[in-house]
Symmetry: C2
Subunit: 312 residues, 2 copies
């Protein structure tokens, strides 16, 4: 039995995943947070793994961590929601659990899962983008994940797309994820909230209560403010993907993350912007934009896949 664990900002999701990528059983815990002892986080992970195992022997555990994982894949250099900061987490958990442990960042694990079992199964090369609060990214070339010289490849969300643009929590301005993410979607819709009876009703006239899920639901009902927000975010998605295709020319683009649940409301404007923005579009194959196939469990599935690869 192989277990994948997705360690997200708010929750830990552990699951047994079989050789076909099917999730057999799962367990959840809340993520204890960043300003707690690391032992608390590690205990929560251990509990989730044990609950999934239910007393059976675990062959190996894969971890998908939301943060910068170093090139040796043993350390989290920085994570916004975790207390880890450079220590050898993999060695510590391997010793504590007495089972082989492997780790990578969540976007890389998502890309591995989509490549092994999902939307990128047939693609010789893939650039994956996940749109959640921000942007996650990963690069798979010739079937292999390109992790970067220091393990930091795929940080597409912090490419500057607007000089002197919107401030980003990373400390710079004009980062792509300020224009193309769940946060950007909510910002667009909130700015025109007064024009939407649907959104005013679901938020109780409180702009602060607006969420990405509300915008998605309103857009699926044809609300013009919500549709305009998706058109704007989708356009920025296509522009940013065109920049990545100009550099890497992958066979396929895969878009996942919570915002992608809107499907064509997001991807149609993205496809139009990609075709318009890509250099040499008339003399090349413009790559398809495919929706991710494995949903929010993809990170966990990819982590389990890594664990399986490690011992086989």
């Amino acid at each position: 039995m192989f277990v994948g664990v997705d360690i997200g900002g708010t929750k830990v999701l552990a699951g047994e995943v079989d050789a076909h990528g099917t999730v057999v059983r799962t367990a959840r815990r809340d993520t204890p947070g960043r300003r707690v002892p690391a032992a608390l986080v590690e205990a929560a992970l251990g509990e989730a793994v044990r609950e999934v195992a239910g007393g059976r022997r675990v062959e190996a555990v894969g971890l998908a961590a939301a943060g910068f994982v170093d090139v040796s894949r043993t350390r989290v250099l920085f994570a916004p929601h975790l207390p880890w900061h450079g220590e050898d987490v993999v060695a510590r958990l391997t010793a504590a659990w007495n089972v082989p442990v492997i780790m990578d960042n969540d976007a890389n694990c998502t890309a591995l899962a989509e490549t092994a079992y999902g939307a990128a199964r047939e693609a010789s090369s893939t650039v994956l983008v996940t749109l959640g609060t921000g942007i996650g990214g990963a690069v798979v070339l010739g079937g292999e994940l390109w992790r970067g010289a220091g393990g930091m490849a795929g940080e597409f969300g912090h490419q500057q797309v607007v000089p002197g643009g919107l401030p980003c929590p990373c400390g710079r301005t004009g980062c792509w994820e300020q224009y193309c993410s769940g946060n950007a979607l909510v910002r667009h819709a909130r700015a025109r909230l007064g024009a939407s009876a649907v959104l005013n009703a679901v938020t109780g006239d409180d702009p602060g209560a607006l969420t990405g899920a509300m915008v998605t639901e309103a857009a699926s009902q044809g609300d013009p403010v919500a549709l305009a927000a998706f058109a704007e975010v989708g356009d920025w998605l296509g522009v940013g993907l065109a920049n990545l295709v100009a550099a890497l020319d992958p066979a396929l683009l895969v878009v996942g993350g919570g915002v992608s649940a809107a499907g064509r409301l997001l991807l149609d404007p993205a496809r139009a912007a990609l075709a318009r923005s890509l250099v040499g579009a008339a003399d090349r194959v413009v790559p398809s934009i495919a929706p991710a196939a494995l949903g929010p469990e993809a990170g966990m599935i990819g982590a389990a896949w890594l664990a399986r690869q490690m011992v086989s």
Copy 2:
């Protein structure tokens, strides 16, 4: 004997290159142009190769073409200065010359040369940028050139960096090479020509006569207008490189092309902008920016290296 041929916008440069990357002898021809029969261009290439060979047997010929070379490396899909448009040039020249021929685009050949013999010899992964009239680019990962699914990787110059920015001959706006290239350097200096006694003198008060070489020479003499033009182009170089590093996290950045002859006048502002613009700079190794080592013959040297690899 292996021969490399760099087919540029204005001239054809052929050269015998030994196994250490040393150029033994060269021959030049003018590039006949785009609106001429392809046979005229191919005859010029053949003459240059024969002159280099001087009657000796040629083992193989490598071609570095300024244009889109397809993924099979046999066809030029589009080139701004050549009459080729999709035909199998490699098969035709192999038959005409009765010698193995291989081709790639000029930036890829430059990257192969710098990796085999030059600035990137020790690097596990490299992003190369050449600044000439526009921007050329190439990606070398784990010692291998990443050419893209369709052979179009490395078109960094047409990444959009300013929404609704300067028009580009490619038909779009705000492309990186409009802000960071020899053309951009000249445009900056020309806009402030009146403030530079040095540049006024060398141009004879004719702004249209200003060239990148004049700006480089004036900057090396400390002319403030020329220095400001390099500071501006260098800053954009660092910003664009930060975007590439965010995506690919290479071990090394190499900058070549005519504009890079200015050395630190260009690279110092680029290094400052890279450190300022790169996500997570405090928690990662910021890659060095190295000047290309092989100069304007790099494309030819890389083409000869390709020829040597093909038959060995």
